[in-house]
């Protein structure tokens, strides 16, 4: 009796060994293929439009409903340069990069989440740039700078007393972190976080200096 079922193919060691090998190899191949496609699609500024070019920090960014996709998506608006300074793609990348290095060097991810990944002791930073807590577009950069320079005095704990410790950020690091957060808010995250309401953004937009004013200056 025992021998009769042990001779069946579905209990044989060699059958399952082959299954293990072929299934693993097959799945790994599919993953490699998808990885090539995904990396192509999420390059900064790639045509897929999922991850913006770094110079997106020169523009107003919003997070608006998309009826076709059924959730919120980032929207790139008119030019509203960060700190009023129009940047080339290289300069913008350098600034965002400094911000990302700072966020890693100060271990921010062990309190905050970025794109929902990290620790749960402090708010998610995915759309921090668009948070209504900053009041309005005109006040935002100043408030963010003040907060990052001295988060203890300018604490925004909404009654929890869970303050952010002072990270002793330099002015350049603060600018970098804000640029990084602005760029991050323009990443297409398939509607995460849901139901997010952005702060009002109706401030003045950038107008390139006209030739007349340039002449006047010279």
């Amino acid at each position: 009796m025992a021998e009769s079922y042990e001779s069946q193919w579905w209990v044989s060691e060699s059958f399952w060994r082959k299954c293990a090998i072929f299934i693993t190899a097959g799945m790994a191949l599919v993953l490699v293929f998808l990885t090539f496609h995904t990396l192509y699609a999420i390059g900064a500024g790639a045509d897929a439009g999922r991850v913006p070019a770094y110079s997106v920090i020169n523009y107003r960014i919003d997070y608006v409903p998309d009826e076709e996709r059924g959730h919120l998506v980032p929207e790139i608006g008119p030019m509203v340069p960060l700190f009023g300074e129009v940047m080339s793609e290289e300069d913008a990348k350098a600034l965002v990069n400094h911000g990302k290095l700072t966020v890693q060097a100060r271990n921010c991810m062990n309190c905050h989440t970025l794109l929902g990944n990290g620790a749960y002791y402090a708010p998610d930073l995915t759309k921090a740039w668009l948070d209504p807590g900053w009041g309005n577009e005109q006040a935002r950069e100043l408030l963010m700078t003040m907060f990052l320079k001295d988060p203890v005095t300018n604490a925004r704990t909404f009654g929890t007393n869970r303050k952010m410790p002072n990270q002793d950020l330099t002015d350049d690091e603060v600018r970098g972190v804000i640029a990084y957060l602005k760029w991050m808010s323009a990443i297409d995250t398939n509607g995460f976080p849901a139901n997010f309401e952005t702060l009002p953004q109706d401030g003045p937009v950038y107008e390139p200096p006209s030739e007349a004013s340039e002449e006047g200056a010279t």
Binding site: L101, A105, A119, P193
Partner: protein, 497 residues
Amino acid sequence: MTLGALNYGELSVGKKLAIKYFSVAMVLFLAQMLFGLLAAWQFIAPDFLFGFLDFNVNRMVHINAMVVWLLYGFIGSIFWLIEDESGVPLVGAKIAEATFWVLTLAVVIVVLVYLFVQSGPGETATLWLINEGREYIEAPRWTDIGIVVCMVAIFYNVLATFLKGQWSGISGVLVLDLIALAGLYLCGMFYTTNLPVDQYWWWWVIHLWVEATWEVLVGCIMAWGLIKTLGARRKIVTTWLYIEVALMFGSGILGLGHHYFWIGTPEYWLGIGGFFSALEPIPLVAMVVHSVYDAGKHAFRSNNHPALAWLIAHAFGNFFGAGVWGFMQTLPQINLYTHGTQWASSHGHLAFFGAYVTIVVAFIYLALQKLRGDVWMSGGLVDQGRKWKWALVLTHVGMVGMTIALLIAGYEQSFVERAIGGSTWQAYFEGQMRPWFVEAMWWRMAFGVLMTVGVVLLLWDFLTIGAKEMKPMLEVKSLDEEAEDVQVGEVGVAAQS
């Protein structure tokens, strides 16, 4: 070997090394508990150690200590079983010894830097020397390189030993899995400005470790443990191992996609990740069936009761912690609201404990039995097994209590902060202030203390179990051997008649 005494000097090279790895692992286990308690208390009293030992440091040490001690437990287990499994002494013993000390020195330096330097300026040098700032793999780049060198050395020991001795199904799976495990670590060793690309590869390390290669590694350890404690039949255990590998990698490799829902990666990951990760519990069910069936088949007649109890705990803990708790939030429709909330920490706590802590503890009990001279560790111990039983109960009650508390907090957070509040900063803090959340943090703290008491008791038991036993270990026969005995007996009877 003397019954009940510490027979460290008489152990083989590989087993001595395993004891060293287990010892460091247990020190780090205690450190993990301590820093977990500090971080848990900061949720209740945010001013506690504020500006001195902040939450991000405590949480980082809490999790890094765990990752490292589990790896130490796995490496120790491999060194413990390798000589028995291959039939020859460990090859490259001096290299293995040096690797242990180098690795341990590196761990000590990293922890000291975490605690006393903590962070640095926003420059590449900080990532190389102080902290990489990426969750779970914060170790600075110099340590990454050191870890890879050590892993290559350990891999050499394992491969060379099996090449010299004999191969088995278990060792074949083990060696291939170690290649994948070490190779995947390389995916976390680079810097890029592009956050979605950063997180894409980061998940290759995190997910493909804990939800694929680590699971297969413990599958190997479990298979060997069942043979040792119960005398389970090797053919059946090996076949099960292959089935588990097929199911684990079949679901887990593309299950990686459940981390690619919201990080900027294309929409097809919602379908692929949702589907394959929903299948991930299946191999864990298979492991429960397998181990419980084996234990029942042998009528729980084991030579090491504590080890078998922790192996069974592993089977169920893995299924509930990794399987059920993961499944609950793995579909994108639900994950949209639970991603990045206390749901994840609820799942993380039960999964790491259930899947990995339990099996390392089981293996340490196997090792201690040998260390004490193959002493009796079945029923009726000198202290009636009170210490190991209470340690088992307290750690499990503590862990389940924490898990439920965190889950309640997670439910509340996903409703108040995510679904209603829309994840703004204000909504986040509103969620953190509701009674369900605040009370859950107190319950988590209380159960965390309970679990710590259990861990201290467990370590005390490790130091003392078997010390006063005078009986040798129970001989367990495999069913193969029993069948042979019966046949011999029948032949004998037939010959007499």
